[in-house]
């Protein structure tokens, strides 16, 4: 229970810090699309500059990715809340874990597309690598949540069967 409380506190802190960042992000996307300014950042060790439609597309993709991750964090808080109430193997937890898994995988795919487009528009080249990238890491985390939801589903069945027997 101590660990659960500690994890809940950490997740709460990250959640409360990520909400203002989300609003700042919205403001930034709107400002950049309104003024049409160019944006420069370092990618793969080189300075890249994006502007106009390309910049808006990349920023929107990044915003959606960030939004999905923040939403999955919100759902994870709900899961921890259920655990705190000792509701371990119920339908709510299973559905939440399944949704978190799907959201994290979706954010990984969007992050990959965003980086791919940035790379393509900046250097006019298509690169693919098998090294640990966002798609692999977020895909892994998402798949782990999917597996957890299935294992929890089996535990729920066991629990229900047990309760029926009693």
């Amino acid at each position: 229970m101590k660990r659960l409380n500690l994890l809940k506190t950490i997740v709460d802190i990250i959640w409360y810090l990520s909400i203002p960042t989300l609003f700042i992000f919205v403001g930034f996307v709107l400002y950049m699309s309104w003024t049409g300014q160019s944006f420069t950042k370092t990618l793969y060790g080189s300075m890249i500059t994006l502007s106009g439609f390309k910049l808006v597309v990349v920023l929107c993709l990044n915003f959606i990715t960030y939004g999905l991750l923040v939403f999955s964090l919100f759902l994870f808080r709900k899961v921890l809340q259920e655990f705190k109430q000792l509701q371990l193997f119920n339908q709510v937890v299973i559905a939440l874990l399944l949704r978190i898994g799907k959201l994290v995988i979706a954010s990984g795919i969007l992050m990959f597309i965003s980086k791919f487009l940035t790379n393509y528009w900046s250097f006019n080249q298509i690169t693919l690598s098998l090294s640990p990238n966002d798609l692999l890491i977020y895909g892994g985390i998402g798949a782990f949540f999917l597996v957890l939801s299935e294992v929890f589903d089996r535990a729920r069945l066991l629990k229900e069967e047990n309760e029926l027997t009693v």
């Binding site: 660990r3 997740v11 371990l88 798949a143 999917l146 597996v147």
Partner: protein, 174 residues
């Protein structure tokens, strides 16, 4: 279920192989640099002068901290191998076995040890080698992800233990 577990196994293997290859490459590079430094020292060293630890303190500190970093990075690979054990057990259908619970605990412990080790080594290197070290920088990466992940694994170990008890009760009833 099986397809998700298999996908996760492939991803974990990729992570283990890439982490191990990066670590081996860094160790090899360190070894080569050390050999070059030794050759330079051998060319100019005075054989009559005894080796003083005090004079070479910075060098010793650098070597010790680099080796410590290699060990700490090895902890992450150790954690991933135990994660692979969990996946193998789940694939076999032993969802709530003792091996799974133990492996969850081991992964959690490895993550905690990695983070603590990293903070200690970086703090020492900041004081002795005057390296740049900002706690916020570390907080953003390792502490944000690995400490909650470790806590999550500990909680999962507890939950799987409870599920195991349910299963045993169920088996007894039948």
């Amino acid at each position: 279920m099986k397809s998700n577990v298999q996908t996760l196994q492939v991803i974990t293997w990729v992570l283990i192989i890439s982490a191990a290859s990066i670590l081996l490459n860094d160790i090899n590079e360190f070894r080569l640099n050390r050999f070059t430094e030794f050759q330079d020292w051998a060319a100019t060293a005075n054989p009559d002068k005894p080796i003083s630890f005090k004079e070479n303190f910075m060098e010793w500190a650098y070597y010790s901290l680099t080796v410590a970093m290699f060990v700490i990075r090895g902890l992450l690979i150790y954690a991933f191998t135990h994660f692979l054990t969990i996946l193998k057990e789940i694939e076999k259908g032993n969802y709530y076995g003792t091996k799974v619970t133990e492996s969850f605990k081991k992964v959690g412990n490895a993550f905690i040890s990695y983070t603590i080790g990293l903070v200690v080594v970086q703090t020492i290197s900041a004081f002795t080698l005057k390296n740049d070290f900002t706690f916020i920088q570390l907080f953003k990466t390792e502490l944000t992800y690995l400490i909650p992940a470790a806590l999550g694994f500990f909680i999962l170990a507890e939950l799987f233990k409870q599920a195991k008890a349910l299963k045993e009760e169920n088996d007894l009833t039948i």
